[in-house]
């Protein structure tokens, strides 16, 4: 390095191509199973336990409202901007625009592509818009911006819960407080794991043969409506499917109770 402006006049070199060190591992992970011998998961939870939830609101300055949630190591931050003027065409219903982005260091392996981020945004957007009284802000738009700071599984649950806390504290009128839960399951749903970590979630990169898929459900508890379902993997039969759905709703209600308690304490 030559003195002050290193490189050619304050421009810094970047490598031409890089490899992820996780692809060049020396030792293979021996223990891939989810359950230990005592029927508890690797982090000591039973199958139906959810990880500790930590909520904080009002972190971001100069926005309408914001919320931060941790589900174990999964960390999500959400902020609401607006309702405010829009450049778009006249519409009697208010518009809700939801965007999800992953922080560059949020994933163990690789950050999702822009298309995947857009796909996540549309799932969350459709799931929460049903709970918002959009007719109360005609001609205006509200932005729901979500940033995933760390993804350690159940990211969709965390994002939905975070958005609903931020919306609830923003003063925008709502019909219900959306809640969500993610479960992953093994073959024929013999084991259902609530609130899976990234290692317990199913993916093609995951060599874990124990789980064959996971399911996330967004539920509106007061309206008793399901506003969104996202599933990866196979569910062989109708009974398996409904079993998973019920598990998700049951888990969702548990989160709902936690969120309600937080909002009550806040008030």
């Amino acid at each position: 390095m030559a003195g002050a402006g290193s490189g050619r006049r304050n421009r810094y070199l970047a490598p031409e191509a890089t490899r992820n060190p996780l692809l060049c591992l020396k030792e293979k992970k021996e223990d891939n199973s989810i359950l230990r011998s005592n029927q508890l998961r690797q982090d000591g939870r039973s199958c139906t336990d959810i990880r500790p939830v930590s909520i904080q609101s009002g972190i971001v300055s100069h926005v309408t409202s914001s919320a931060y949630i941790e589900l174990g190591d999964t960390k999500v931050l959400c902020s609401i901007l607006g309702p405010r003027h829009t450049q778009k065409d006249f519409n009697l219903e208010g518009q809700v625009l939801c965007q999800v982005k992953f922080a560059p260091f949020s994933c163990h392996f690789q950050k999702p592509s822009q298309q995947e981020e857009k796909f996540m945004s549309s799932i969350i957007s459709e799931a929460i818009v049903g709970a918002i009284r959009t007719e109360t802000f005609p001609k205006l738009e509200t932005l729901v911006n979500i940033v995933v700071l760390e993804n350690d599984g159940s990211m969709l649950t965390a994002a939905i819960l975070c958005a609903s806390i931020a919306l609830a504290t923003s003063g925008i009128e709502m019909k219900d407080l959306p809640t969500a839960c993610t479960v992953s399951y093994s073959d024929k749903a013999s084991n259902i794991y609530y609130d899976p970590t990234i290692a317990e979630e199913y993916s093609t990169a995951n060599e874990n043969k124990d789980v064959i898929g996971y399911k996330s459900v967004v539920y509106l508890p007061l309206l008793r409506e399901i506003s969104g379902v996202y599933q990866v993997g196979v569910a062989e039969s109708h009974s398996v499917s409904s079993q998973l759905l019920e598990a998700c709703i049951e888990g969702g209600l548990r989160y709902h109770e936690r969120v309600r308690q937080y909002l009550k304490d806040l008030a």
Partner: protein, 222 residues
């Protein structure tokens, strides 16, 4: 077209400045400044009507674009833009032109050291050429300290690469610091020493601007 060439040499050791006004015919004001082999061209457009999204009710918006000799604009150019636009905002009496935009493009044609200095001089000359109302004129000087503690003014690229610190000062007519861009490793004494050298040159640069403009005016009279 009013083309003015002349050379002013400094008491402080530095390369002579050569300035050519009105080099871009379609701009409201333009200048090309050469200092040694460092050449910068600057064009000023405006005040013109601002786009409604950028418009400000109480003053003109100043937009600065910096382009270097090669490559796409990156962080380096953006940082120079920030420095130059802060100079413009301080120099131009923007409140005299509310609801308008002034756009400044600076093209680095060749860089052989002290490029910020050259950019500031090109900017000042073209703003004067555009007849925009200014609070003051700025001048700049760059100092580089070598590892043995000796100081160089107006360093070339080779000298910059061996230096431990590079300090660029942008000062007003009275010799006070308006903007600064200092990198490398240095201590307070070195910084202050450079600043006092910069202050002492301020008056010469003011003469330079005056002469440049008076030559332009005498051309117009003829």
């Amino acid at each position: 077209m009013n083309i003015i060439r002349h050379v002013v040499t400094m008491e402080v050791k530095s390369r002579g400045i050569e300035c050519e006004l009105g080099i871009i015919t379609r701009a409201d004001g333009s200048a090309q400044v050469k200092q040694g082999n460092t050449i910068v061209t600057c064009g000023v457009y405006g005040p013109v009507e601002a786009k409604s999204a950028r418009e400000k009710v109480d003053k003109a918006v100043v937009e600065v674009i910096v382009k270097s000799e090669t490559g796409l604009p990156g962080p380096y150019e953006k940082e120079l833009e920030l420095l130059m636009s802060s100079c413009c905002e301080t120099m131009i009496l923007t409140h005299l032109h509310p609801h308008t935009a002034i756009s400044v493009s600076i093209q680095i044609q060749s860089d052989n050291g002290s490029v910020i200095v050259c950019m500031v001089h090109a900017l000042c000359c073209s703003l004067l050429d555009a007849c925009l109302p200014l609070k003051t004129t700025f001048s700049a000087i760059k100092c580089a300290f070598l590892s043995d503690g000796s100081m160089l003014t107006d360093p070339t690229t080779q000298q910059e690469e061996t230096a431990t610190s590079q300090l660029t000062y942008i000062i007003d007519r009275k010799g006070k610091l308006v903007a600064s861009h200092a990198t490398g490793s240095f201590d307070t004494e070195e910084y202050i020493k450079g600043l006092s050298v910069a202050s002492s040159t301020a008056v010469h640069r003011t003469d330079f601007y005056r002469e440049t403009i008076s030559r332009k005016m005498s051309r117009i009279k003829q």
